[in-house]
Subunit: 356 residues, 2 copies
């Protein structure tokens, strides 16, 4: 069974001896070889240069052998393609201008042709496929409607999402029209990634945790459902990841996604009990664990694997993106534990005969 | 029934026609009269000048007539009293130095005498009591062990709590000794506030939401329990507020606190079902609601009041502190709705004959 087959089987909730594994933001700053490429490019030009994006996408696979490569890109690329000016100043978060805060602002956004405006991403996926063959899965992705809209409305990262929530409460039809425009554009953007070779799609709702379940269900979920349905029509499984999702699991399970990516705050048994019979699960080691000594990392990775052992359809991951300062040795430890599972399974000595 | 009696009755889960109400950070920058006092003092000297602290504590009561005054102070004052250098640079968060990251660092902390080191706070409480008489409740407070420890370890605010979690995982006994030292000092600090006149104590775990329930239960809860028990021995009710507590309600209810303060992400019915029979609840309007037009604010305040109508022991509040940019008129709207409840209750026409 190849890594790719293992990954797709987990998404489809088929029984497995050992779960597939990847790490959110695995193509990232914790890797010295990433920092070397990054020195040659600013962040956005790295996203937009297919050879650079492909190179950093492949780096962690070469080192650790994850079951899936997640294409190097940024969830805000579509905002730029829709006409906002997007900048990443060194050491700061993204800046988007002008902010989208009125019907006229939404009106002014442009619908983009994914193949021309973001063709570099398709090229990067094709390069990655060339190196990986069919051995490993490739994950394409986009931002979720709420997270993407909030960046466009706030003009960058936000602590309290004042403008986004104000718009949602005061002018719900304007907010909804922004989300609709986003989904209109994100579906072809995902389609372009699948045409180029993506096997799986992940929708990142990084800021979904700022919302209560009732608000998410009424104002956000319909847009997520349309996005997920559009993605699934492409014939690939869809992972919906929400950071801070303890209050949102049931709403997320109603999205139509095949897999829910959950953060470290969610208790595995609780997630399994609440939605584990409806969807596959992905997660959820606290990314800060990777700052601990190897023995603690081993213990915690083992704990997470054991907690999800009975879940039908499970993908190992962190509960959010790997942090820039993580020692590379911590990732060695993590994947040593995972390889140990494979070896024991191959030897017929796995502690549990199945995962899911 | 005075406001103070209403507030204490809610904490003790006695039946009430209308819930008491206050607003976290009600003595704050959204008020022009606060900003006028603030112009005369930097933030820390405002905390440490009893007359200024008392004045800004009273300002929102004069304007809106909340049932309780929360004394103006900062949860980091005890860190300074324990020997860390504490600064608030304009427009930045707090800075604490040196960071506490080793057994020797914990050792070096000093135990402070609350009456001498933080006597200004007692003086401020006595001034507030003088003006309020016994009409309204006075809320004293401190930071919770995790939140306070994380500031001391990180040296300020943090996005990911890398150093705090590393210490907790890698050197759990050092982390525990820091929490113990904190609780040793926070109990007399709270006692000083009660001696000065505080009727209720709130423990703020502003960053508790960064933790999963199992970690909170094993590494944090014992310290919270000791703090809460120490506070309750003073004869006053204790409110435990955790921001981002959707995954923590049961753990919080095991703290021994009389009231759980919950953030806006938590569904009221869910909170009532999970812990409402064991503790009173406080919350949980999304603070961003106050950026919406009056009609939306009225609707949302009414919704929250209705959702908690069946809860025995309920205090109306926001789900976190009021934001600096909120228009004063929004608070007028909020308290107009609350006054309407009182008037209807007095006229025997309240939609529900009881709250709790």
């Amino acid at each position: 069974m190849t890594s790719r087959e293992r990954f797709l089987a987990a998404c489809r909730r088929q029984p497995l001896d050992v779960p597939p594994a990847w790490v959110m933001r695995q193509a990232g700053r914790y890797l010295p070889e990433y920092r070397a490429v990054r020195e040659q490019h600013d962040f956005l030009s790295m996203c937009r240069t297919a050879s650079a994006a492909a190179e950093v996408t492949l780096q962690p696979i070469r080192r650790f052998g994850m079951d899936a490569a997640v294409i190097f890109a940024d969830i805000l690329l579509p905002c730029a393609a829709m006409g906002q000016d997007l900048r990443f100043a060194e050491g700061e978060g993204p800046r988007l201008a002008p902010c989208v805060r009125s019907a006229a602002d939404v009106e002014r956004l442009v619908d983009f042709d994914a193949r021309t405006a973001t063709g570099f991403l398709g090229d990067a996926i094709r390069s990655v496929r060339k190196e990986l063959g069919k051995e490993r899965a490739i994950i394409g992705f986009c931002g979720a409607p709420w997270t993407t809209a909030s960046y466009m409305i706030e003009g960058g990262s936000s602590k309290n999402f004042e403008h986004s929530k104000r718009l949602m409460l005061a002018e719900p039809e304007v907010f909804a029209s922004l989300c609709s425009r986003l989904v209109d554009n994100l579906i072809p953007y995902l389609a372009m990634q699948v045409e180029a070779g993506a096997d799986v799609l992940q929708v990142f709702d990084s800021w979904g945790g700022a919302l209560d379940a009732a608000t998410y269900r009424s104002a956000i979920l319909p847009h997520v459902q349309r996005l997920v349905a559009g993605a699934k029509e492409l014939g690939v499984p869809v992972i919906l990841y929400v950071n801070g999702c303890a209050q949102l699991l049931e709403v997320m399970a109603d999205s139509g996604a095949d897999v829910l990516g959950i953060d470290w705050r969610v208790d595995a048994a609780d997630a399994i009990a609440r939605v584990g019979s409806r969807v596959a699960l992905q997660g959820n080691l606290d990314p800060c664990t990777l700052f601990a000594p190897p023995a603690v990392i081993s213990r915690e990775v083992t704990r997470v694997l054991d907690e999800f052992r009975e879940q039908r359809g499970y993908i190992f991951n962190l509960g959010s993106g790997i942090l820039p300062g993580v020692p590379v040795e911590s990732m060695d430890t993590l994947f040593r534990v995972l390889r140990g599972r494979h070896e024991r399974a191959a030897a017929g000595q796995a502690r549990s005969p199945r995962c899911g």
